[in-house]
């Protein structure tokens, strides 16, 4: 900027109090008034941690930032935040400064310079979370990677559009790093880049933590013990140790920074946090699982031993004291039941220093009660306050006789409040450090109010249906989808809607069966030959696998006594009875409407009609065999709408109702195979059968309109097949696509058959089933 048009209020003329500061101000060469206002203050803060050379570097960097042409904000952010960043990274700015300046330069050179301000503004908070220069470097790497991959270009060689998600990412960074490790952050960012890289609005929503999948991936990548992983263990814990059982409902701890929710229980269930990190206190480590157990044990204690008290006549202080005493009473009883709990409780319970709170200037009520609570549980508490010791003594006397009771302990608590009351308890500054005991619930069940209070009660307001939003059919079931590139699941990615298939005329199907009467007769002969599966012993065999001792001895006796012995002294095993459940899954995508090419074209049938005939014959054949069989069709219209249509259930008979549904079979849309396989698999899994078979009839490879990556749905389908086989469901694919050899093997392995001549389908499908189950 030429000197001539400098504004009159140029802050360069500003005089600083100290000559040295004045020299640095000159070095900064900055004309922004807001910067001049805070410069001295920032510098004094920097002086407390930097030596002279470091200050020079600091001023140098600031000068560069001030001249980027982005206004005063980036410079202000840098001047104010940098000393804190350096402090967090163990006081040394040496390795960090070039990194940060490099990142700023990179953003300045690309269209992303608007992100510099949020980057600098949150850097201090990020540094406080990360605590080391290496970690901060990693964080910068992740951010630059995000920038490079989401900045758009028009003709391929210039990056012309700013990364939409980058500013949002910087704004969320401190919160993200509170929940994620840098590795988790990298995965979370990766997911956003890959799935929303080409959609600016969704990308912003993702990186601003506003979209559902963003939160879901965040939840998955969190560190600590996730509730979802230990839910069953906790359920067993309640049953086994406490003979209690209750619905456990997790609440989210990720998005509520100001009002941290506290565990509680009511008639709808026990509310626990969705994740617990391992706790490392001075008294030993407690695993996340054990923290959950402590929370549950505490609530169980209240349910067992606490009775609700009428709260109207007590002051908030009195109520707080009663809560502390009562919590300690039930914990004492819990420890009496299981002595091992003492270690967990004490490791989680804070141990306030006796002199941590100054009663002259602060309200020490919480501090006193926390110390008392510690002393009541910990025989080795080491506190010396005589009143505290006296009440500990009285508490133990009360409990030595038995369980005592809430009313009795409340009386003791009130006496304590009376004896220890101080005028300073009313002060506004309250001592909170080391007084929060996070495994205890909020004690809402301990109180009942005769008069209606104005306390917030609508914690779980029932969601009302919007006008015009009617419930149609079943709510969707969500399934994950496998992302082969990152080797992770995309959580809750696909919505499967399930419905009964529409009905047509059952007579049509009977007519089809009539048409294939000759084939049916042939099948019938084969069906009669099908071998059953269960093992049965056959005795009196001349040759067999085992000697039948009773018969053998009888024969020998006959022989010795001169009679003709029976030579059939062996026994063998044969199989009898079948225990097979089969689910026939039909791909009902648009391509089924195509006419059959080749030899069958003379009849002018579509693939759909042929499938209908084949499925009818198969259903009839399976019905003859008596195997439980279900039939369902699926098609999809993006990941938000996979339709799964019931044609026949396992327990339904092969009757007119089912035939009518089969007759109405129609095709449309695309083939999202993985979700349909998972959904069908979950039905098969619930069956009790020795062998569970999922037979898929399809005419093409998995595809959907919202998927552009080649091979993605194929990889997902393969993963779904793997999942099913791990859970005891055998999948077999019959493909009508003559070119299927390329991909069907990669999805189903050896368990597939490609049918070249589609017109053979009605004959081949039942034969295939018989061959599979022989």
């Amino acid at each position: 900027m030429p000197t001539g048009i400098r504004p009159v209020t140029d802050a360069r003329q500003r005089q600083m109090a100290h000559p040295q500061v004045q020299a640095w101000w000159q070095a900064l060469d900055c004309g922004f008034a807001p910067v001049a206002d805070v410069f001295e203050e920032c510098l004094y803060e920097a002086l407390s941690s930097f030596d002279k050379a470091q200050i020079e570097a600091y001023i140098g960097a600031a000068r560069f930032i001030g001249k980027l042409g982005r206004g005063p904000e980036p410079l202000l952010a840098f001047l104010e935040e940098w000393p804190a960043v350096a402090m967090a990274a163990s006081g040394d700015q040496e390795p960090l400064l070039p990194q940060v300046m490099g990142a700023i330069r990179a953003m300045q050179k690309s269209p992303n310079s608007a992100a510099i301000t949020p980057f600098l503004q949150t850097l201090a908070a990020v540094a406080r979370r990360l605590q080391s220069a290496e970690q901060i470097e990693l964080y910068i790497d992740i951010a630059l990677n995000l920038m490079a991959r989401t900045s758009g270009s028009i003709h391929g060689h210039h990056t012309t559009f700013a990364s939409p998600g980058l500013p949002a990412f910087f704004e969320q960074a401190p919160r993200l790093l509170g929940l994620l490790s840098t590795a988790g952050l990298r995965n979370w960012t990766e997911f956003g880049i890959r799935n929303h890289g080409s959609h600016p609005e969704r990308q912003v929503e993702y990186f601003a933590l506003k979209s559902a999948d963003s939160r879901a991936v965040l939840q998955r990548e969190r560190h600590g013990t996730l509730f979802a992983d230990v839910e069953r263990t906790l359920d067993l814990y309640l049953r086994a140790l406490w003979r209690d059982s209750e619905l456990l409902v997790p609440y989210s701890t990720a998005f509520d920074e100001l009002r941290r929710p506290v565990p509680y229980y009511d008639k709808l269930g026990m509310r626990v946090p969705d994740v617990f990190d391992d706790a490392h206190g001075p008294r030993g480590a407690v695993s996340g699982l054990d923290r959950y157990r402590a929370v549950l044990a505490h609530m169980v204690g209240h349910r067992r031993w606490s009775t609700a008290q009428i709260a109207d006549n007590w002051s908030p202080f009195q109520r707080m004291a009663v809560e502390f005493f009562e919590d300690c009473r039930i914990e004492t009883l819990l420890i009496r039941e299981y002595p091992g709990l003492r270690r967990i409780f004490l490791a989680l319970h804070p141990q306030p220093r006796q002199d941590a709170c100054d009663p002259e200037t602060t309200s020490c009520l919480r501090h006193r009660l926390a110390m008392l609570s510690r002393a009541l549980l910990d025989p080795a508490h080491g506190y010396t306050d005589p009143v505290l010791l006296a009440f500990v003594q009285r508490f133990h006397e009360l409990l030595s006789a038995g369980e005592s009771g809430t009313a009795e302990i409340a009386a003791l608590a009130l006496a304590y409040v009376t004896q220890t009351r101080r005028p300073s308890d009313q002060l506004a500054t309250i001592h909170f450090d080391d007084t929060v005991i996070d495994y205890r619930d909020d004690n809402r069940q301990l109180w009942k109010f005769i008069e209606e209070g104005d306390e917030e009660e609508a914690f779980d307001a029932e969601r009302k249906l919007e006008p015009g939003e009617a419930l149609r059919g079943l709510p969707p079931r969500r399934y994950p989808e496998w992302d082969d590139a990152s080797q992770t699941y995309r959580p809750d990615w696909v919505s499967v809607y399930e419905a009964l298939h529409a009905s047509g005329s059952a007579a049509d199907i009977d007519r089809l069966l009539q048409k294939h009467a000759a084939l049916a007769k042939h099948l019938k002969r084969l069906l009669d030959l099908l071998k059953p599966q269960d093992k049965v012993r056959i005795r009196h065999q001349e040759e067999g696998s085992d000697l039948d001792l009773d018969v053998a001895i009888g024969s020998l006796i006959d022989f010795k006594s001169g009679a003709t012995p029976d030579p059939r002294i062996n026994m063998s095993h044969r199989t009898d009875g079948r225990d097979i459940s089969v689910l026939l899954l039909l791909d009902l995508s648009e391509s089924l409407n195509e006419k059959v090419a080749g030899a069958g074209s003379a009849t002018g049938q579509t693939v759909l009609e042929l499938s209908q005939e084949a499925v009818s014959l198969l259903a009839w054949a399976i019905d003859c065999l008596g195997d439980p069989c279900a039939i369902a069709g699926f098609h999809s219209n993006t990941r938000h709408e996979v339709r799964y249509q019931h044609i026949k259930g396992f327990s339904e008979r092969w009757d007119d109702v089912v035939k009518a549904r089969l007759a109405a079979m129609s095709a449309g849309w695309s083939t999202r195979m993985g979700a349909a396989l998972r959904h069908a698999g979950h039905y098969l899994e619930a069956r009790r059968a020795d062998k569970k078979i999922l037979l898929l009839l399809t005419d093409g490879e998995p595809a959907d309109v919202d998927v552009t990556e080649p091979g993605h749905l194929r990889a997902d389908a393969r993963k779904a097949v793997e999942e099913l086989s791990a859970r005891g469901v055998d999948t077999f694919c019959l493909s009508l696509d003559p070119k299927a050899d390329d991909y069907v093997r990669s999805i189903f392995g050896k368990r597939h058959l490609v049918l070249d001549r589609v017109e053979q389908l009605p004959e081949r499908l039942p034969l295939l089933y018989m061959a599979l189950t022989r």
Binding site: R232, T233, D235, L236, Y237, R239, A240, L241, R243, L289, D290, R293, Y338, P339, G340, L341, R342, R343, D550, I553, G554, L556, I557, K560, S561
Partner: protein
């Protein structure tokens, strides 16, 4: 005739009386009524029968039933020897001849058609026809039939026919209540009473999970095993894991819960 002496119970078996069962059994025996003892595995059914045989001074013939057992395994069969064939009494026949208590352990394990051979012995007839031999045995005046079974089996295949069930008087056994069970464990193995009580507490946590992933809780027998291990110098935690947790489950969640219960109990 088999030697009666060998079937006598020599020393008094330790049995902790829980209620009226001894008097009731004696009454049933005096009337020679067949008795059925029901209860979960390892709760002391066999020990009770042994104790009663000792108390009444009767010989006891025990048959552990299994699926491959045939009627002739109970009744008897012809065997071969140098001179031709020789009849050998089965355990049931022997008991009927010498006037012993015949105890068919876990009767549902035998197939139902096998079980039918006991029917003539269990009603007013008190006879056992040996059709192969052409003999009809009148049961000895002191003969009594006792069967045990565990109704906990969820299998529909393993149940007694109504016609069999309705020939017996029955006792319902269960694990004793906690203090009594601790006494039993302490007495049986000689370990400290408080340790025994802790073992029982761990076992009860497992019993609470019956039907929620466990088919059967930890039996008194397993507690006794754990106590025995402790008596041999094993630490209580290891003993519990080895004798009370690992045998009953392969489920990782249940194992974690029970391991935690052990840690919480032996602080």
């Amino acid at each position: 005739m088999a030697n009666k002496e060998q079937f006598l119970v020599k020393a008094e078996p330790y049995y902790q009386v829980q209620g009226q069962e001894v008097a009731l059994y004696e009454a049933a025996y005096h009337a020679r009524l067949p008795v059925m003892v029901k209860g979960p595995t390892g709760c002391g059914k066999s020990r009770f029968v042994e104790y009663m045989a000792w108390k009444l001074g009767r010989p006891l013939i025990t048959v552990a039933c299994n699926e491959d057992m045939t009627a002739s395994d109970l009744v008897g069969r012809y065997l071969l020897d140098a001179n031709g064939t020789r009849w050998l009494d089965g355990p049931l026949t022997t008991a009927a001849r010498i006037g012993a208590i015949c105890y068919l352990d876990e009767i549902v394990e035998a197939r139902q058609d096998t079980t039918v051979v006991i029917h003539p012995l269990t009603d007013h007839r008190r006879t056992l026809p040996l059709d192969k031999k052409g003999e009809l045995i009148e049961a000895h005046a002191d003969f009594q039939l006792v069967i045990s079974y565990n109704p906990g089996y969820q299998s529909l295949m393993k149940d007694l026919k109504q016609s069999t069930k309705q020939r017996f008087t029955a006792f319902d056994f269960d694990y004793p209540e906690a203090t009594l069970e601790a006494q039993i464990v302490a007495r049986e193995t000689g370990i400290d009473q408080t340790v025994a009580a802790q073992l029982v507490k761990v076992a009860q946590t497992a019993r609470n999970l019956k039907g929620h992933g466990l088919d059967e809780g930890v039996s008194t027998r397993l507690i006794v095993y754990a106590a025995t291990l402790i008596g041999k110098g094993v630490t209580p935690r290891d003993a519990c894991r080895m004798a009370m947790v690992r045998p009953i489950t392969d489920d990782a969640d249940i194992r974690a819960t029970l391991d935690h219960a052990i840690d919480a109990t032996f602080a």
